[in-house]
Symmetry: C2
């Protein structure tokens, strides 16, 4: 079983396979296909007649025609319950975030939870996502827009810029989807998103202190230092105790409901608590006349159902560029959130989400939205989770929700006169606190320290500076990590595991033993310009260390250096140069270089560069075991005389 | 020999090793050490008494005290010949590039080939490098400086800015060396440098058309379009046929000498040809009085030996920032060239170059240079090659050269009155043509197509736009390549090679056979946020493809998916998430996930994230062979009933 027990007869030595030569065109086609069409989206169209192709095309673009055919009353029952549940969560929670962000948003708030979910229901492929305006994107958009136009001074242009940004957010999403560049959003790492969301949650919660404390004048900046200073400066004359009592007690109620709602069977508690709070607090104010004692209420809300807004979008002028920039940022963030949600629930129910198709759906939804007085909508994590738990089957709950929200708001708008602002702040705070995922942060710390730094970078960037800075820090740190790994790859000394022909890292397997006269090194990365010199010098350093150690112990010197190439997936011209330098350095030291198990790319390039000829074809082996086995007898000859 | 022949008795199954747990501090220390001190620079100081440490320290800082002790007369003979040879190459070639670039540089030209080589001789660790002003850096510096100050209008500030830039170039190099950030220059890939050098050569050669054609008015822009337009517009009234005759005939002579000089024994032909040309052409003009017939000559050159220039450096004002920016760019380019040369020749003679120490030497040299009227000097490839072939032994040729150049120029400066500009242009053109390395480009094309695009990007960027754009394109393309590789890593289906227990890519080894009921997939990259989703979906796609294929052929379905993890050197939190999703998708399909040979980092993180518990410790194997061997009997039970 162990080929090394038997040194007399050499085992059958496999030749290292040279992959079939490909033409340049084929190579490029394959690379483009794997990069942009890795999910092979046209697979189902293959070998189908024309009419079937047309139907499949329609179904691909509008999945509702696919699942709609099997739709049954029993499915609808589940969807109806889910739709009503997310509507009850949606009505107070999200819509009212907007009142706090900017009053002018009010006229679009209901619209954003009406048109986009309808569009998504037709085009989206996720069965669980709940579409609508969400806290993080709303905050981001509000902050970015305020930097350009002060909504209290120029509300009309502010709103127009919001529509412009929404339009370009949709266009961005649509473009990424159509050009199949969906993989770009993968560049936001999980760790970065966790940090970013937690930071955004803190920022949003801090903004709500205005409503919760009944403060009249408040800073427009979002960083924690400005906000705390603003809170502090108003402590003596601005706080209103009645407001604080209402706000804090309902916040406690909401957090309790959240906590109870964690049990799967009681999830509806968390879902309806916000609506209950709004109703109770409105009644309370109406009964106690607290609005006469300084408790601020929402008062009247102007309503207008989805008036066309296409002609309000800036298609020229200075705001075009600004709207474009804001739209791209908001669109990307919205996309990241929606795709992450879609993927999470798809893997729970094991169906497939096509990221690029999803982007087309989200993009269309926002472009249509921007023309009907909506601002950027996306998938909401909390509502999607409730939707999932309430037993949704298709995208129908989105339709149910949008209709219910619209009707309810038409009916209850007059009641908002007595709804205290504080209750809305409480709802927002209790909602965004769920975005702070301490467990995930602990897990990140345990798995990967560098990820943790990226996560904290995003968090502190958002909290102490701004949303954009936080994102920038997180993305830069994530990239730095990849580059660092590529620049300083790991190398390992291999030893033979007892009673096997398996060679493994001697640090991981202390029982593995070195082979006399042979040093076996594994390179754990593709060899590129950024690491080729390091790899060369690291290998020579392993050799120097080993030789010193051997000399001290009067052991025979190293005669063969076997480089295990399994993990070396690719090499570039700088890498070939470094290997050539390694070979000539080893020649000077009278050590023979031997390669084991180069992959297809590598074999191809070793031949193209004539490196295989340089070190000799017979010094390239299929496995380390074969290399050791062939080198060991040769060495004897050298030692004995 | 083949464990699979014998399915009755299971082989000894190795446990996958869990590396010893490290503390966070140790982990970070190890990472910092490997990133910044990968060459272990303090190794020789270990276990040495204090006085010895001091001597070693001095020798480390000034290697001349190390090799100086063994310096002998026989070594000096070789060094003297080498020094004289590179001096004869240096006098016309490099110095005179500068006249063409900017007249004001003249007073510093000799200085730059005097002070820096002296400083380097004391501090540098390369034995072959020849220090002085070089074409590419001169061009770059000239272009960048001209963008800020027009030398014909404000020569004094122009010169001061040049010293400022040189100062900061030195500081940049010194800082990189001291903070051991030398690995940053590895980010300029070999391919990018080849393209950049070729582009720079074309640009420099085009600039020389002014002298070669005897054109009076010439554009200051460096891109090919501007230059050709400038040449074309002067065709009717600006060209001087006598100048062209002299220039072209000596250019032919120089190119011939270059060609002959490629033979190792005749290398001196190429080395002395420029000096010979200058002498001959000067005589020619003196005899024929061609300077009276429109042949432009150098006329007088102001000389001043290394006056102190410390007080001319801008340490405040608007030029401080500009000088800093130019200095950083020029310093990095100069560094890249010097380190590349040093490494090349060090590997030829097999001695070790410490990149960071080398940077300290180069940085000090330029800081001192900037205070003694020099501009950025670095290693010249052509002169270093001549130096190497002339048999240099130490850094002494640099001292010889600097003295010879200084004395010669003092003597022959008056003769420059009759030296035609055209001859200098010819020398420059013949010199820079050597920077165009067609063979390297062909090799790059053969080895790596993407590298070739980076190379061409740098080339066309420099030729059609500017040096900075060319560099930017090359660096961006190189990074894009790394990121693309990390985003779309390769995966492969493995099969068993006949008569072995070795599993290899079935594309590379068509004789490898799949194992019934088991799909074996290898992931060829670390799993990071940028590729985790792709990897998960790619594996599921392999599975779907295989299952369809099996169904068509009525073969038993896949029951085990073995993922070979050998090349997976690292994983982050996004990667763990993707693996969890993969596991739950496979559970839904009733396929068992099995991992083979996870490395130390991976084992550590699989345990930290409890993933090992999730899929079951007994589903993680040391090798694919063991995994197959353990799964195969289990499968039978499932199939038989």
């Amino acid at each position: 079983m162990d080929i090394n027990n038997n040194t007399e007869s050499l085992p059958y030595v496999h030749k290292v396979g040279l992959p079939p030569k490909q033409t340049l065109f084929k190579e490029i086609t394959a690379a483009v296909k794997e990069t942009l069409f890795s999910d092979d989206p046209l697979r189902q169209f293959k070998d189908q007649p024309g009419s079937r192709k047309f139907i499949l095309g329609i179904q691909t673009l509008f999945p509702i025609f696919e699942w709609g055919r099997d739709y049954s009353f029993s499915k609808f029952k589940g969807d109806l319950v889910a739709g009503l549940t997310i509507a009850s969560l949606c009505i107070p929670q999200v819509i009212i975030i907007l009142i706090h962000l900017n009053f002018v948003f009010v006229c679009t708030f209901a619209d954003s939870s009406f048109v986009p979910p309808l569009v998504y229901a037709f085009m989206g492929s996720s069965r669980d996502i709940a579409i609508g305006p969400v806290a993080v994107v709303s905050l981001l958009l509000g902050t970015l827009l305020q930097d350009e136009i002060d909504p209290s001074k120029d509300p009309i242009n502010y709103l127009r810029l919001a529509f412009t940004a929404t339009f370009f957010a949709g266009i961005t999403q649509l473009t990424l989807g159509l050009f199949r560049l969906g993989f770009l959003i993968d560049f936001l790492s999980h760790a970065a998103i966790v940090g970013f969301m937690a930071g955004a949650a803190i920022t949003i919660a801090l903004q709500q202190l205005k409503g919760l404390l009944g403060v009249a004048y408040f800073t427009k900046k979002t960083d924690i230092v400005s906000v705390m200073r603003s809170v502090w400066s108003t402590v003596h004359h601005g706080w209103n105790w009645q407001t604080i009592v209402i706000g804090v007690s309902f916040l406690a109620f909401l957090l309790l409901a959240r906590h109870i709602g964690k049990k799967k069977k009681l999830f509806w508690m968390a879902a309806i608590a916000p609506l209950v709070s709004v109703i109770l607090s409105t009644l309370l104010v109406y009964v106690t006349h607290a609005d006469k004692h300084g408790v601020k209420t929402v008062h009247e809300i102007k309503r207008g159902v989805n008036s066309p807004s296409l002609n309000e979008i800036f298609f020229s002028g200075e705001y075009l560029g600004k709207g474009f920039r804001i739209g791209v940022v908001a669109g990307m963030i919205a996309l990241t959130e929606a795709i992450a949600i879609g993927r999470t629930f798809a893997s729970m129910k094991d169906y497939h989400i096509d990221g690029n198709k999803e982007m087309v759906a989200l993009g269309t939804m926002n472009v249509v939205g921007s023309m009907t007085s909506c601002y950027v909508a996306t998938g909401s994590f909390s509502r999607s989770a409730v939707n999932f738990m309430a037993g949704c089957n298709t995208a129908v709950p989105n339709i149910v929700m949008s209709l219910v929200v619209l009707l309810t708001l038409e009916l209850i708008t007059p009641l908002f006169k007595y709804t205290p602002n504080a209750i809305l702040s409480s709802i927002v705070i209790s909602a965004v606190i769920g975005l702070i995922d301490i467990e995930a942060v602990i897990l990140i710390w345990r798995i990967d320290k560098f990820d943790f730094f990226a996560c904290m970078g995003a968090f502190f960037g958002v909290v102490f500076s701004s949303v954009e800075i936080g994102l920038l820090i997180a993305v830069s740190l994530s990239f730095a990590k990849i580059l660092l790994q590529v620049t300083r790859p790991r190398t390992a000394i291999l030893g033979k595991l007892p009673r096997t022909t398996v060679y493994r890292n001697i640090q991981q397997y202390p029982e593995a033993s070195k082979v006399q006269g042979i040093l076996i090194v594994r390179i754990d990365s593709a060899i590129y310009f950024s690491n080729s010199n390091y790899i060369k010098e690291r290998i020579l350093r392993w050799l120097t260390d080993e030789e010193e150690h051997l000399k001290e112990n009067n052991l025979p010197r190293i005669q063969f250096l076997i480089v295990e190439m399994s993990p070396v997936t690719d090499i570039d011209t700088s890498g070939i140069h470094a290997l050539k330098e390694l070979y000539s350095s080893l020649q000077k030291r009278n050590v023979q270089l031997v390669l084991a198990n180069p992959g297809p790319m590598l074999v191809d390039k070793l031949h193209a560069s004539r490196y295989a000829e340089l070190i000799g074809e017979d010094n390239i082996f299929l496995t380390v075991a074969e290399a050791v086995h062939t080198c060991a007898p040769k060495m004897k000859e050298l030692v004995e005389p």
